[in-house]
Symmetry: C2
Subunit: 343 residues, 2 copies
């Protein structure tokens, strides 16, 4: 039996396999430290489209298509698609994945959506409701700046605490069998801890790392409690896009609660760009940041045996331009997924 | 075993019970034909708040609180919350439900979200991942007009094909046992058909019924195929907010495909207002429309034995003001949930 564990966690009776995955990124990500690992990069960030939003939809469409190709599967083999993005009414998703004709479950958890989609996707398989599903998320620097902050044409300055939204989309094919036509699965999902909203009252949308770190700390503490495990049980504890500022807050908050994750912690946003030369300030962010890093880098480490077990925990900042301009705070949320190497 | 059925459906091995539910609405809904059935109505549509968005959050907060009270449960008894709304980045949800501290799965399926949330909520219980969950959605006339069309202050005219967004929120407590401290469950969920995006290329955001009807037809046809059932097997086949125009399109589309649902079809948007006297044109719409009608009216019919089995299928129009202004079409999506009386 699948098992609810403690307040907010689930231990899967049988693992759910990440059969294959794909990552598609923009030019800046391609020039960054992980550049060589991504499956595909655009020649420019328009991806042949007329608007930033269409470009983001194209990212998602290509990532899903590529993941299916790599897994040797067709859209008809996929029961459900769990997908989301950062734009209002998730339009990058709506116009990105519709051509596949796969029944769609739209998700919104800001930048935590990749964790939410993987968790629900894995649950749908582990519960016997689906044989194979695809989970995908995307973000695009230009569509996100327009959606959350200022049009790019304003050329506004960004404080050092700001993150740079990743232009990219990652897609993951999950299945119940360890093998598919493309061979052995890349990794396996064995459990998850679902996060609640945590609001410390911070209001600075240019410092989302600090806004999200309390939620990351909450989900991590809950995970350690529910699973009765500890930081040392993981090769890496991976957040989505806390960046440099958020990382410090997270490590401090957890130390106060008796957990030292300074050895294990890694942040996708801090891996994807070279902060020194790429002018990205605190790090990368966005729904696509954790997704492409998982597909291109984290799963590679698990597949090659460098790591055995990681906790993958994308973090989301729950704001809109309306809530921000109406003076509301920026609450956070984080969903954690336990991903292990396939032995 | 739970069973994937056909292309897009699920038959639950054991039913999931709707233990209790609640509906909170605005003044116009309270004055409509279902007015006496709702649990609570605001004195005005601000609900004591300073902004429309906060008012919508309050709707959701009160609906969840009331549903828990009616079920005799506390937030700690609830494993997960499946919730969503229509606003960009789902801020009505973020600021509505955070106080409960329940792990949150944010959904976005436009006005189909109530179906999506009930489907995934029921799956999380049927899969053994949760004991009890809450599903909630909301919409607010004023926050939706501002988000999708024009600020109210413009006083713009609305064509007769336009719908009126319902100010309201419905919340549903799902559980695996037929009884809870408040007594026998209101109804049971026994299966679902999850929809794909259907895009006929329509671009009129003032005629969302026509935009969504093809998706409703697609999900319904899929349901009849997957379950090998027919319109006569249901007392009612209930769409969320197609309105008068969408209803005609849906019935015509299905007739072409060999199904006559004209006897069974009911649309929540056509029940909630009196089109003659309330100036609402084609009918009600929004994430809250199907949710409050389900809680106040549909579940009542099932509980009282007037109906035995219904197909509840909220319909969503996947547009944003950005996609609309960039000339994109308005695709639709619909998720269907089989709800039966508890015998």
């Amino acid at each position: 039996m699948n098992r609810k564990l403690g307040r907010a966690s689930i231990k899967l009776e049988r693992p759910v396999y990440i059969l294959n995955s794909a990552s598609v990124v923009g030019t800046k990500e391609n020039e960054g430290p992980l550049g060589l690992l991504f499956d595909k990069a655009g020649k420019d960030d328009m991806f042949g489209c007329k608007t930033w939003e269409e470009a983001e939809s194209t990212l998602q469409k290509e990532a899903v298509g590529l993941a299916l190709d790599k897994a040797g599967l067709a859209p008809e083999d996929i029961s459900f698609l769990f997908a989301g993005d950062l734009l209002g009414q998730s339009i990058a998703t709506s116009f990105g994945v519709s051509a596949y004709g796969i029944p769609l479950l739209g998700m919104y958890g800001a930048c935590s959506t990749c964790g939410e989609a993987l968790a629900l996707g894995a649950m749908s398989i582990a519960g016997g409701f689906a044989d194979k599903v695809v989970c995908t998320t995307s973000s695009h620097f230009a569509s996100a700046e327009k959606e959350f902050r200022f049009p790019l044409d304003y050329g506004n300055q960004r404080p050092l605490s700001a993150c740079w939204t990743v232009t990219g989309s990652g897609a993951f094919v999950l299945g119940q069998d360890m093998f598919c036509s493309s061979g052995k699965a890349r990794a396996q999902i064995t459990g998850m801890t679902l996060g609640k909203i945590v609001d410390y009252g911070l209001k600075d949308s240019m410092n989302m790392g600090a806004c999200m770190a309390p939620a990351a700390a909450s989900t991590l503490e809950q995970h350690f409690t529910d699973f009765a495990d500890k930081p040392e049980d993981f090769d890496k504890i991976i957040t989505g896009d806390l960046g440099k500022v958020g990382q410090r807050v997270l490590i401090d908050l957890l130390r106060e609660r008796g957990f030292d994750i300074s050895e294990q912690h890694m942040d996708c946003g801090m891996e994807i760009y070279d902060g020194q030369t790429q002018d990205t300030h605190a790090g990368g962010s966005g729904c696509g940041c954790s997704a492409v890093t998982l597909s291109a880098f984290i799963l590679k480490q698990l597949q090659e045996g460098s790591w055995k077990k990681v906790l993958f925990m994308p973090t989301g900042a729950l704001l809109s331009k309306t809530s921000f301009n109406e003076g509301m705070s920026v609450p956070g949320i984080a969903h954690a997924v336990v991903i292990e190497a396939v032995s």
